[in-house]
Structure formats: structure tokens, C-alpha cells
């Protein structure tokens, strides 16, 4: 999947490119609006990540011109202004999604994948990573031939980790995304939930086969794309 990144802040572009590349995307970076518009019209990209605050032409203007000239390429807006009017404006202009700074590259990757899935007409209610398949409607996890029902929070947690396989999330990040709380409530609730999930999923498995959520001591948790077989 080829991505066009239009972002004037070189350092943001740098780590974004790094993150996207390691997630398997091919990224072309352009650092101003005019060049971005030209590249968009030239074609050859599957998706555009567009910063709003750009020199020469701002992001909204770039999209407006591109749409006028017939480009239908999906666009994700990227901006420091996370407030509502901008967000609405972004959608009005024909943007497909909107992500506000400071953002996680992993979140961006997840959004890209969602748009890709929509485009490929994949079942949007299913997330498949390695041998694990999440079924959104039923809150079930299919793994190793068994299907297990999870509670809403458990399911959200697994889903969150699975969106960026291999990435290590801290407890704080997990709390923020899964419980939607951006403070430290001095709790070990994440650990409790991870334990529960493991218990539920490993219950019917033979000894030694474990659900691929890995604890990185002192750092956090990550979802491994392949099931770990403990020796």
C-alpha cells in the first residue's frame, strides 16, 4: 500500500515514515501543500496523510483543489488542532478520517488499515492477526480452534493490542485507549484484565500453548503476531 505523507514538520515526518514503513507501508514524503497537490494529482498512491497547517497551501485547500480536479483518493487529516470545528470541516471537505496531534503512529496505522479494509470490502467486523481472529459483533475471539466470549472491556483490550501487533503499550496507554481515562488512577486494572484474558483463552488449550499477549516487564504489553510456544 503506497502512502503519500504531506507534512511540513520534518521530525514528525521522520518518525511517522519510520513507523509506517515498519508496519509495511511504502511512504513518499512531501513537505508543502503545492508539491503535495501535484503528487496527489499525479496519482499512484492508495492514500494520503495530509497535515492541515502547511506552508503554501493549507491542508483543506489542498484537498479542495484535489477534489475539484477529480481525485478520489482517501485522505486522513493530521493536525495540531483537535477541536471540533476543524474536525467537522475536515469531514465536510471529503476527508475520510481525522487524527489529531499528538498522535500515536500505531493509531495512524490502525486507521490506515481500517480504510484499506473498507476499500477491499473486507469484513469490517473481523480483525485477523496470525492465528487470532476477533469478531466484533459477538465479542468473540477465535483462536486455536476454539471460540471464546469476552466481556466488552476484555475484548476492547485485545482489539487495541491487536491493531498494532508487535508494538509494546504501557499500562498508561492501554488505560487511556481502552478505558478512555487519561490519568493514573493508581490501579493494576490492566494487569488484572490481562490475567483474566489469558486465563479464559488458555483454559482449553494444551499445556504450553499461550495466547499471544506478551508481558514486557517494566515496559508493558504487546500482541505477538505468532503464538508463543513456551519451552
Amino acid at each position: 500500500m503506497k502512502i503519500l505523507l504531506i507534512e511540513d514538520e520534518i521530525k514528525i515526518a521522520e518518525f511517522t515514515i519510520l513507523g509506517l514503513t515498519s508496519a509495511g507501508f511504502k511512504v513518499t514524503h512531501v513537505s508543502n501543500g503545492a508539491a503535495g497537490l501535484a503528487a496527489m494529482l499525479e496519482g499512484g498512491f492508495d492514500l494520503v496523510i495530509l497535515d492541515v497547517m502547511l506552508p503554501a497551501l493549507n491542508g483543506f485547500e489542498v484537498l479542495e483543489k484535489a477534489r475539484e480536479l477529480g481525485s478520489k483518493i482517501p485522505v486522513i487529516f493530521l493536525t495540531a488542532k483537535g477541536e471540533l470545528p476543524n474536525r467537522l470541516k475536515g469531514f465536510e471537505m471529503g476527508g475520510d478520517d481525522y487524527i489529531s496531534k499528538p498522535f500515536f503512529v500505531e493509531e495512524l496505522v490502525a486507521r490506515l488499515k481500517a480504510i484499506k479494509a473498507r476499500k477491499n470490502n473486507d469484513d469490517p467486523d473481523e480483525i485477523v492477526v496470525g492465528e487470532v481472529c476477533l469478531k466484533k459483533v459477538s465479542n468473540r475471539v477465535a483462536w486455536q480452534g476454539t471460540s471464546t466470549l469476552l466481556s466488552q472491556r476484555e475484548f476492547s483490550l485485545v482489539e487495541f493490542l491487536m491493531r498494532s501487533p508487535g508494538h509494546i503499550y504501557s499500562r498508561q496507554e492501554i488505560l487511556k485507549h481502552v478505558w478512555a481515562i487519561s490519568f493514573n488512577p493508581e490501579t493494576n486494572v490492566v494487569d488484572v484484565y490481562i490475567q483474566r484474558i489469558r486465563k479464559k483463552l488458555n483454559r482449553n488449550q494444551p499445556e504450553g500453548i499461550e495466547f499471544p499477549i506478551e508481558t514486557i516487564r517494566g515496559v508493558g504489553y504487546r500482541f505477538c503476531s505468532e503464538s508463543k510456544v513456551s519451552s
Partner: protein, 461 residues
């Protein structure tokens, strides 16, 4: 006790009136006897002039004199006249006086007071008599009045005047009082106007012009100066506000870069290595900075009255229900109980009120006692609802309820060192409550129980 302007004005007016009375009295008593005497002489002369034709009959003469002087203040003096005629007087006593006066020559030359009457002063037996006679016939008709009687009469007039003043004093004072009240109300009216305008003025509506047309044009300048003050205040306020907002905005880009790179590094470092753990804690601190920045941005937009919100009908029973469920898992050591009425809806921004309730909850956790409890209550009221969250605490500063909503306030500083937080939560919660037309207050009981109470709609004071 502090002075009241009205009483002060009133006191001064009363004092002024008293002084005027006294000065008037002193001037009248000390400086006017000569004038009084000459006007008395004129009066005597005029009554003699008017009644000289009926002088043969004493009764008729006196009657005439009294009648002639009905409107004159000295009218009563006619009773003290002694009428001396060449053929003798009315009584022997008076005849004696008449003869004595005739026997004594005047000290000074007679003074012509009216057209045909002259008055001279005679000293008889140590007493001074004012004697009026016709110039054409000095030996004929003579009207004598003793100075003692004149003085007595004048004195009684003074007394009468003093009496009148005494009787009318209360009435005058009441009049003055009413006058003072009326005048001060007149003066106070524009001041009250400004007072009303000032009362409405807060940091939230500083940008709106003060819409007063003063009752009196004399106050135009005053209002203009006041308006200028508001403009200046607003300018510096906008500046300060913009600064916080701009600073937060500017911080976002470097923070994004910092976090993005930290996350990349964490992913690349050997799993579980010490470097990875250290990097994780760096990333967590960056996360904290981002959180502070976001809160400051939200607070500064609250100050600028430009909080963005997306109002929807939300079941707060569910929101709080979820909070209670979460909290029971979050805090296994705290005994969390709740009493929630179902099906309470609120037209609010889901995102903001989540922050509001979680902030209140976190506050209750952070400042709880060991193995303490939290009570959460949600009840319907007549027009809305009331939410309350209580927890026991220790080391309560006396001014907690006042200062709790201050930014960066974190309670007793000796205790809060080990409490993680910024001291922005409650002030943010209050701003969010305000945006939603509700009111957040803190109550502290004597048993060291802190209750945060959110009521919607806000109690209009």
C-alpha cells in the same frame, strides 16, 4: 462601624442648620439693638402720627394705636404707652410721670422721626423714657414709653422666636432627613447602575461593552473611564488567555515528535532490557506532559469561553454506572458504594462529562484514607439531577473548600508529595460543569468527609 454616607450627609446638614440658627441669633441679639430701637421709634412715631387726632381720649387713642399696628410686630408695644396731655393724664400715677418727664430736659436734641413727630430720650429717676411729641406743639400731646418696657417687649419677642424654633425643630429635622435621603438616592442612582454592571462583569464576559446610559450627564465621563478600564482589562486578559492556548499548541508538535521517537526506540530496543524500561518511563513522562498540555488548552479555551462541545442526549445513569463498575475493579482496597437512579439523561458533551466524572472520581481516590470508602450518589431533582461523590480524608486544610478549585492546588503540600497529579482536575471539572449550565461545589463535613456535589441546573443565585 463604618460610616454611612447618608447619615454623614444628614449629620452635616443638621449641624449646618444649627450653626446658621445660632449665628443668626447671635447676630440678631448683638448687632441689631440699634436698628430695633430705631424701628421702634419709627413705629411709635407712626402710631402717634396716625392717632394724634383722637388724642383727647386716651382709650380711643390706644385703640387707634393698636388697630393701626395690627400687622406690625411691635403692635403690642402700644399697651405700654403713657399718654400725656397738657390738661393732665389718665391717672395720677401717669400724671406724675408726665410731669416728671416735662420737668426734665432731654439729654440730646430731639430727633425728627416722621413728618411731624419727633422723639427724644428723657432720663427720669434713673429710667430712660422715649418721648414722642408733635413738632408743631412740643408742649401739647406727648407719648412716653419706658425703655425698660421696650426692652422687655423685644425680649419677649426673642423668646417667642426661640419657642417657635423649638417647636418646629423636629419638623425641620424630618424635612432634612427626607431631603438627605432623596438627594443621596439621586446621587447614588448612577453609582448603582455601575454597581449592577460591575456585578455582571466577570472573566467570561469581559469582552462585552458596558451598556449603560447614565441617568445624569455628569456621569458620562465616569462611565467612559470605566469602559476604558474594561477594555484594557479585557486586552490583557485575552493576551494571557491566548498565551496559555498558544503555548499549549506550540508544545504539541515537539511533544508529538518526542513521543513518536520514544515509541520507535522502545520498539527497537531488546525486549525487556534496562534501556527499554528506562525509555518506557521517558515515554510515560512525555505522556504526562501531553496530558498537562491538553488540560491547559482546555482550561484556556474555557477561560476564553470557546470550549468546543458537541451536545447530545446522554444517559448519565449509564456513564456513572460504568464509572462505578470500573472503579470497583480499579480500587480493590476502597469500599465503593453507589446509589444511582436510572434513566437520568443530560444534554451534554460525552467526552467532556466523562472527564468531569472521572476527575471527580480520581480526586476521591487520591485523597482517600487507607482502606477508606467512596460513596457515589445520583438522584433526580425537579428539573435535573444531582450527583455527589464523598470520601473520607485526612489533614484537611481549613480553606480547602475555597481553594480546591484553584489551578495547580493540591491540598496540604506536606501530604501531596506522594500523590500523583497536577491539581488541574477539579478546576477543569468546574469549568466543564459551568459549560453545561451546572454547578460543582465542595462540602467538607466536620468528620473529615469531603463531598463534591454537581447539580444541574445550577442554582441561580
Amino acid at each position: 462601624m463604618r460610616n454611612s454616607l447618608r447619615w454623614k450627609i444628614f449629620g452635616n446638614i443638621v449641624l449646618a442648620v444649627f450653626i446658621i440658627f445660632m449665628v443668626n441669633r447671635i447676630i440678631a441679639q448683638r448687632l441689631t439693638p440699634a436698628a430695633v430701637r430705631s424701628s421702634i421709634k419709627e413705629y411709635i412715631a407712626s402710631s402717634v402720627e396716625a392717632c394724634k387726632d383722637v388724642a383727647e381720649n386716651r382709650d380711643r387713642f390706644l385703640g387707634c394705636a393698636l388697630q393701626n399696628s395690627e400687622d406690625v410686630i411691635y403692635g403690642g408695644l402700644a399697651r405700654h404707652y403713657i399718654l400725656c396731655l397738657p390738661e393732665g393724664s389718665f391717672s395720677t400715677e401717669q400724671s406724675t410721670i408726665c410731669n416728671q418727664i416735662r420737668g426734665v430736659t432731654s439729654d440730646d436734641t430731639a430727633e425728627l422721626v416722621s413728618a411731624s413727630v419727633e422723639i427724644s430720650e428723657h432720663k427720669v429717676n434713673g429710667e430712660i423714657w422715649f418721648v414722642a411729641n408733635l413738632k408743631s406743639n412740643p408742649a401739647g400731646l406727648m407719648v412716653a414709653t419706658r425703655q425698660f418696657d421696650i426692652d422687655n417687649y423685644v425680649y419677649s419677642l426673642w423668646n417667642l422666636r426661640a419657642q417657635v424654633v423649638t417647636f418646629t425643630a423636629p419638623f425641620i429635622i424630618i424635612c432634612l432627613l427626607i431631603l438627605t435621603w432623596y438627594c443621596s438616592s439621586l446621587i447614588m442612582a448612577p453609582i448603582r447602575q455601575i454597581e449592577e454592571a460591575l456585578k455582571k462583569l466577570s472573566s467570561k464576559n469581559l469582552d462585552q461593552p458596558i451598556d449603560i446610559v447614565p441617568v445624569y450627564k455628569e456621569f458620562d465621563n465616569f462611565i467612559a473611564v470605566f469602559e476604558l478600564l474594561r477594555i484594557r482589562l479585557n486586552e490583557s486578559f485575552v493576551q494571557a488567555r491566548r498565551f496559555a492556548g498558544d503555548a499549549s499548541h506550540e508544545l504539541k508538535t515537539p511533544l508529538t515528535i518526542l513521543r513518536g521517537n520514544a515509541e520507535r526506540v522502545i520498539a527497537r530496543l531488546p525486549t525487556g532490557s534496562e534501556e527499554q524500561i528506562r525509555m518506557r518511563s521517558v515515554a510515560d513522562e512525555v505522556e504526562r506532559l501531553i496530558e498537562i498540555t491538553e488540560k491547559l488548552l482546555l482550561l484556556s479555551s474555557a477561560d476564553a469561553n470557546i470550549i468546543q462541545h458537541d451536545m447530545k442526549e446522554v444517559s448519565i445513569s449509564n456513564v456513572i454506572g460504568q464509572l462505578v463498575l470500573d472503579s470497583q475493579i480499579f480500587q480493590s482496597k476502597l469500599n465503593i458504594t453507589s446509589e444511582l437512579q436510572q434513566k437520568i439523561f443530560w444534554n451534554c458533551d460525552q467526552n467532556l462529562i466523562n472527564q468531569l466524572f472521572y476527575n471527580l472520581y480520581t480526586n476521591a481516590v487520591k485523597y482517600n484514607i487507607e482502606d477508606g470508602w467512596i460513596k457515589i450518589k445520583l438522584v433526580k431533582t425537579d428539573h435535573g439531577f444531582e450527583f455527589a461523590i464523598s470520601n473520607p480524608t485526612t489533614n484537611l486544610p481549613d480553606d480547602l473548600a475555597k481553594k480546591a478549585f484553584d489551578r495547580f492546588y493540591r491540598g496540604d503540600s506536606s501530604r501531596t508529595r506522594d500523590i500523583d497529579g497536577l491539581g488541574l482536575g477539579l478546576s477543569l471539572a468546574q469549568e466543564i460543569a459551568r459549560v453545561h449550565g451546572s454547578e460543582l461545589i465542595m462540602e467538607v463535613s466536620t468528620e473529615n468527609i469531603v463531598t463534591l456535589r454537581l447539580s444541574y441546573p445550577a442554582n441561580v443565585v
